[in-house]
């Protein structure tokens, strides 16, 4: 049985179709990444799956229960960290946890022990008696993560869990997410518009744009859609260079500036072979650059646009290295 099964899900707001008939399945115990730009329909999908919005048509089953017919059964089995804060700001971290636990049917020592363990897990135990309104964005997000785990959900929904957080806090939250999956074998449905986040965390990724899923697979499978890795070599005597030939080289071109452009399936494995090959020719390598397709390239390839990056990081991971011989 799948953790989440969605068939032809449509959600309209008046005339506007936010989600235009999407279908996907999420396996138990996997992190499923829902990657797409802002406004693609990610949050709407999460709200439908968590019974907060009514779908217009289609069918969605979460933890074995229909979200429309048995919302209460679904609610019992899921946890969610919303994109926007949903904490009671006037209350302390502990009180927020306590109220959540009580609402979900936990009481007494068991509840207290769990609150302590989870607040320690997200490193907020020492701040337990501080009102949430004094917390930073990262602390609030961590508290929300702890709270969502309190009732041990089968499936956890994380809607843009690191949006607006600094890189250090993001890395921190990634660690928690990985730990949750490993320690509890939890199914996690993660939406994000950060490619690195999807790549780091998700076992499988669905790329969503304008309310439609345009590709689905593991990060590597998706990258294969774009093509091979590309290696650029700058050689000492470019005028003498001809195209290199070998069984692992899928394509070769001499560029105008004299650089050699090579297509290979896996740059990391191809580079040492290339060095040997060039060495045999008796030519010196001055510079090596390579480029692996990123999820951004995949998105660009599929839509002709880039996912807007808000983190300020360069989406292209270009590794430069100089080889001295």
């Amino acid at each position: 049985m799948y953790a989440i099964e969605v068939e032809n899900l449509v959600k309209k707001y008046g005339d506007f179709e936010a989600v235009k008939g999407i279908s996907f399945k999420v396996n138990r115990g996997e992190i499923f990444g829902f990657l797409g730009p802002n406004g693609a329909g990610k949050t709407t999908t999460v709200h439908v799956l968590t019974t907060l919005l009514r779908l217009t048509s289609g069918k969605a089953t979460v933890a074995g229960h229909d979200v429309v017919k048995e919302p209460m059964e679904v609610r019992k089995r899921i946890g969610i960290v919303f994109q926007d804060p949903s904490l009671d700001r006037e209350l302390t971290a502990y009180e927020n946890m306590y109220i959540h636990g009580r609402i979900y049917g936990l009481t007494g020592n068991k509840l207290e022990e769990k609150i302590e363990r989870l607040l320690k897990f997200v490193e907020l135990w020492e701040f337990r008696d501080k009102p949430v309104k004094t917390f930073s964005g990262g602390m609030q997000r961590r508290l929300e993560i702890a709270r969502s785990l309190l009732h041990e959900p089968e499936i956890l929904f994380l809607d843009e869990p690191t949006i607006g957080l600094d890189p250090q806090t993001r890395a921190h939250i990634w660690d928690y997410i990985k730990a949750m999956k490993e320690e509890h074998n939890m199914t996690i449905f993660l939406t994000t518009h950060y490619m690195d986040e999807a790549e780091q965390l998700a076992d499988r990724i669905a790329i969503i744009d304008h309310g439609k899923i345009i590709a689905e697979g593991t990060a590597n499978e998706l990258k294969k859609l774009v093509g091979n890795d590309v290696v650029y070599l700058k050689l000492e005597a470019p005028e003498e260079v001809k195209c290199l030939k070998a069984e692992f080289i899928k394509g070769c071109k001499i560029l105008a500036d004299g650089k050699v452009q090579l297509e290979v399936e896996n740059a990391a494995e191809a580079l040492p072979k290339l060095f040997t090959l060039v060495q045999h020719l008796g030519v010196k390598i001055l510079e090596v650059t390579y480029h692996r397709p990123t999820l951004n390239d995949v998105f660009l390839h599929l839509t002709g646009r880039e996912i807007r990056e808000e983190s300020g990081e360069n989406p292209f991971k270009i590794v430069r290295m100089r080889v001295r011989r």
């Binding site: 019974t51 949903s86 904490l87 009671d88 209350l91 959540h100």
Partner: protein, 256 residues
């Protein structure tokens, strides 16, 4: 029952966390009682005026009114405070929980109403210092009337807040509803003295019956407008209707 109690716990915690708010809630009715009530009580300190106010001095006449007014204001504000939960997101946490929504909202309304009634009680104790002829035996039944009033208007405020999109709308409604309802309740001057069109409005104002009921217990049967049975019946009916309305609205609530 579990969720019901939890919501009462939450409302209570929130209430006492905001100490400045607690003070503000008590100061406002005190201003009415002292600066308005004490001032006018000197003006009305003659036998003719006493007849208008049912044979008692003005402060005694006004005190149950201020009590009801305090509860009315506070319960309405606490009901509408659901809009803050909407704004700050806590509403989502409640809506996604596997708990009966009817029980959740009923717990919230009950918690708020208990707190509001306690505030009314504090005001009542203070009025006893100023007004001479109030009955101590009337405190407990008056508080019951107050609780009924509180839960009715908390329910009304909640329904409004769930329907409302913005805080601006909230300010508008406060302005348009709260003062007129106060003036049209017989809290400050007797309904008998009103022109007939105002009287008609006073009769359909739920607050009127709370003021009248509180006056019955705190002052005496001779100053009331309706029989106490009518006060209880009307207030109970309105409370049931408004709380049910809030429950229905909350049951339907989704997030957009």
């Amino acid at each position: 029952m579990r969720v019901f109690i939890t919501m009462i716990y939450r409302q209570t915690k929130r209430f006492f966390r905001a100490r400045s708010r607690v003070m503000g809630m008590i100061i406002n009715p005190l201003i009415w009682l002292v600066f308005f009530g004490l001032g006018w009580s000197k003006v009305f300190d003659n036998p003719m005026a006493r007849t208008i106010f049912g044979g008692v001095d003005y402060l005694t006449f006004l005190a149950p009114g201020i009590f009801a007014m305090t509860i009315f204001n506070q319960s309405f504000v606490s009901g509408v405070s659901v809009i803050w939960d909407k704004q700050f997101g806590f509403l989502k946490e409640v809506l996604v929980a596997p708990a009966s929504r009817k029980e959740t909202i009923l717990g919230r309304l009950t918690g708020d109403s208990l707190l509001t009634t306690i505030q009314g009680f504090i005001i009542l104790l203070l009025t006893f210092l100023l007004a001479e002829n109030l009955k101590i035996s009337g405190i407990i039944p008056a508080l019951l009337i107050g609780f009924l009033l509180a839960i009715a208007f908390s329910g009304f405020g909640t329904s409004l807040a769930l329907k409302m999109e913005s805080m601006e709308g909230f300010q508008m409604i406060m302005m348009v509803l709260m003062l007129p309802l106060t003036f049209l309740s017989g809290a400050i001057y007797p309904i008998e003295a009103m022109p007939s069109w105002m009287k008609a409005l006073a009769y359909i104002n739920p607050l009127t019956y709370a003021v009248d009921g509180a006056r019955y217990y705190l002052v005496g049967a001779n100053v009331t407008k309706f029989s106490i049975t009518i006060d209880w019946a009307v207030l109970s009916l309105i409370a049931v209707v408004l709380v049910s309305l809030a429950m229905v609205e909350f049951e339907k609530a989704t997030i957009d």
